[in-house]
């Protein structure tokens, strides 16, 4: 009940946030120099024709009127058409987003699955060999840029060792993708029992996911370690020890839950960022996600596509933070609605 109330309240708070975001996106793309009308015309177009096109695109109306027309369209799910792919931007994004979502979510889960225990172990066995190894890994992870790591992994694991397939996208060239249900190849191929597609897409996911996970893992481990150290030094942990609570329970029951609070915000930040698509990694691995779509749209000045992408990225960011806020609310009783 308390939770429902909180979620309701947070959802209501999203409305002004998203309205603000839409105003910013609209304004920026309309005050930027350059007239989109010229994208539709040739050298020999007459001023009359230009005026007609301006009118057709609604660009002659005052800016606030244009905004409301655009907002109305957006609310109906119409983000306009892409000049480059000549398809609806909404459709373009819906088709590409699962690729980004699948890769970044897998990478984040892998980073969490490794980073959290590594950080905890580092803190519990502070200054031991395991702490030293973990600190080495994290130092490497924060110092190495993802594009370099991606290329290195491709060189070693594909080109030299042939363990993983070439960076040719989400699935082998000769394998047909699974029937689209969610757009996530792993899920769809599992649901339809298409093992060939499953293994091929898993293999193709491996390198970009490992690259992204290694880069993401480093700061998560660091934060987890310092947060855990702080909690382990706290009075209530000392008190639990004084009450004869065994170490294992101290670590996993008393300390871990408290120690997870601080890194949670960071994870949200990272995930929100990743969901907007990693332009660099999607390019290196020929990954057909929204990051690459955005990059291509920017290069050819495809305004509708860029606008649609920015809006989607902003909405995803806000949603991730909503989820994290709800998680905090569930974990930490000190937060009240």
């Amino acid at each position: 009940m308390r939770l429902l109330q909180y979620v309701g309240k947070r959802l209501l708070q999203l409305i002004p946030v998203l309205l603000g975001v839409s105003i910013i996106i609209f304004t920026i793309s309309h005050v930027l120099p350059g007239n989109p009308v010229y994208l539709f015309v040739g050298i020999d177009t007459t001023p009359e024709e230009i005026e007609a096109i301006t009118k057709r695109l609604g660009l002659d109306k005052p800016l606030h009127e244009q905004y409301f027309i655009w907002l109305g369209n957006v609310l109906r799910g119409d983000l306009g058409d892409s000049w480059f792919t000549s398809e609806s931007v909404a459709q373009d994004l819906i088709r590409r987003f699962p690729a980004t979502f699948e890769m970044t979510t897998a990478a984040l889960l892998l980073a969490l699955a490794l980073g959290v225990p590594l950080g905890v172990l580092s803190a519990v066995y502070r200054n031991s060999w395991i702490d030293n190894i973990s600190r080495g890994i994290t130092l490497l992870g924060v110092s190495v840029p993802s594009f370099w790591l991606g290329l290195l992994l491709i060189y070693v694991l594909f080109f030299l060792l042939r363990i993983f397939p070439p960076p040719s996208g989400r699935i082998g060239l000769l394998v047909s993708p699974p029937d689209r249900i969610t757009g996530l190849y792993l899920v769809d191929s599992l649901v339809t029992g298409n093992w060939k597609a499953f293994t091929s897409s898993a293999e193709h996911l491996a390198l970009p996911v490992i690259t992204q996970a290694l880069v993401t893992l480093a700061p998560i481990t660091r934060l987890m370690r310092s947060s855990m150290l702080e909690v382990l030094g706290s009075e209530y942990i000392q008190a639990a020890r004084a009450n004869g609570v065994p170490d294992r329970q101290i670590y996993f029951r008393d300390a871990l839950r408290n120690a997870l609070l601080a890194p949670l915000t960071f994870v949200a930040l990272v995930y929100g960022n990743l969901l907007g698509g990693s332009v660099v990694l999607e390019r290196i691995f020929s990954w057909p996600g929204i990051g690459r779509y955005a990059l291509e749209s920017i290069v050819v000045k495809d305004y509708n596509a860029v606008q649609g992408f920015v809006l989607l990225a902003a909405v995803l960011y806000v949603l991730v933070f909503l989820i994290v806020d709800i998680l905090y609310f569930v974990i930490d009783p000190r937060i009240t609605a």
């Binding site: 209530y236 004084a242 009450n243 004869g244 009783p333």
Partner: protein, 342 residues
């Protein structure tokens, strides 16, 4: 030294040394400390902050935080040498034979669990009983420490309770064990005076009725006079004086104890409050000889050169001072303290 084996002795600490290895140097937080606690008695452990009171307590239950380490010493609890116990054995001593009450009740409770959960968990660990039995027992314990409406309060989180209420929860948790030894580390700091009196009453009642011993750490001599049978005075990691409360308060022999008593506010006598000049010495660079000599109004050359030994100063009353031992012939005048501040 003749060893008197007293059957009433519950805890005996012998030659305890706990050092902290810091970058600046070795801090001898507890330096050759020895004392005994008797069953059914509350012993006050007093001294200024940094005198090693809390570290003494942490050493007894072997929970000294890094970079601290127990270097030497024996701690005998009811015939068991705690220093030679394994860590697993220690876990069965903590929370069963020895319970501890902490200074900051709210900080000593885990913010993410309800207080009922935290008490019943300790009970469950100890008794190995079912969860519901432990929960019932937790509510009973909360009732016993006079928490009103314990059923409802059990499902409250620490941040929802007042400091005094949290301290009662800590007391309930500590006493649920029926411990042989209760260590209370400044349990009433930060509480209202009325709540403070109630918490002290609770502790006294339980210790007396259960025949356990209590080590009561405080810097409040008023509380010691009211609550304790015996008192141990620590200064810079050493015990400087110990004995029965009545004896120490009426006839303090160590200059430091005299200073402490002189500096407490008395409403019944019209006298100015004095202070002990100076501060607790730098723990890394302790003064030579008697560590108190730089602040002592009676100090002479010998005090700088040689550390005094523990000597008899009365019945069951020992202290560490060259004047008391007779190596320096000098009278200690009470006026010395008022003169210092005048």
């Amino acid at each position: 030294m003749i060893e008197v084996r007293n059957s009433d002795t519950l805890l005996e600490v012998r030659g305890l040394h706990t050092y902290f290895y810091t970058y600046e140097g070795v801090v001898k937080a507890v330096n050759s400390v020895s004392y005994k606690l008797n069953r059914g008695e509350i012993t006050g452990l007093v001294g200024e902050s940094g005198s090693g009171k809390s570290v003494t307590a942490q050493s007894i239950i072997r929970l000294v935080k890094a970079p601290g380490r127990i270097v030497e010493g024996e701690v005998w609890l009811d015939g068991q040498d705690l220093m030679s116990c394994s860590e697993a054995e220690m876990q069965t001593v903590r929370g069963r034979k020895i319970s501890m009450i902490f200074q900051e009740p709210r900080a000593a409770l885990n913010p993410l669990f309800t207080v009922g959960d935290q008490i019943s968990r300790v009970i469950q660990l100890r008794e190995g009983c079912s969860r519901s039995v432990a929960e019932n027992q937790a509510v009973e314990m909360m009732r016993a420490v006079e928490i009103a409406d314990p059923d409802r309060r059990a499902s409250a989180y620490p941040h929802e309770l007042s400091g005094g209420m949290c301290q009662r929860v800590m007391v309930a948790m500590a006493l649920s064990a029926n411990p042989l030894l209760l260590i209370a580390d400044e349990p009433t700091t930060g509480l209202d005076v009325t709540v403070q009196a109630q918490v002290l009453d609770l502790i006294r009642l339980r210790v007396k009725s259960a025949g356990s011993a209590c080590l009561f750490i405080t810097h409040d001599l008023g509380v010691v006079a009211e609550l304790c049978e015996r008192v141990i005075v620590m200064y810079a990691g050493r015990v400087v004086e110990q004995g029965p409360v009545a004896e120490i308060f009426s006839n303090p022999r160590h200059p430091y104890t005299q200073g402490l008593i002189a500096s407490t506010l008395r409403v019944d006598i019209d006298k100015p409050i004095s202070t002990i000049p100076g501060t607790v010495p730098d723990a890394v660079h302790l003064p030579s000889g008697c560590t108190f000599h730089p602040r002592c109004p009676f100090a002479e050359e010998l005090c700088q050169q040689e550390e005094p030994q523990m000597v008899e100063a009365g019945r069951d009353h020992t202290t560490r001072c060259h004047i008391v031992s007779g190596r320096i012939e000098r009278e200690m005048l009470e006026e010395a303290w008022t003169l210092e501040t005048a």
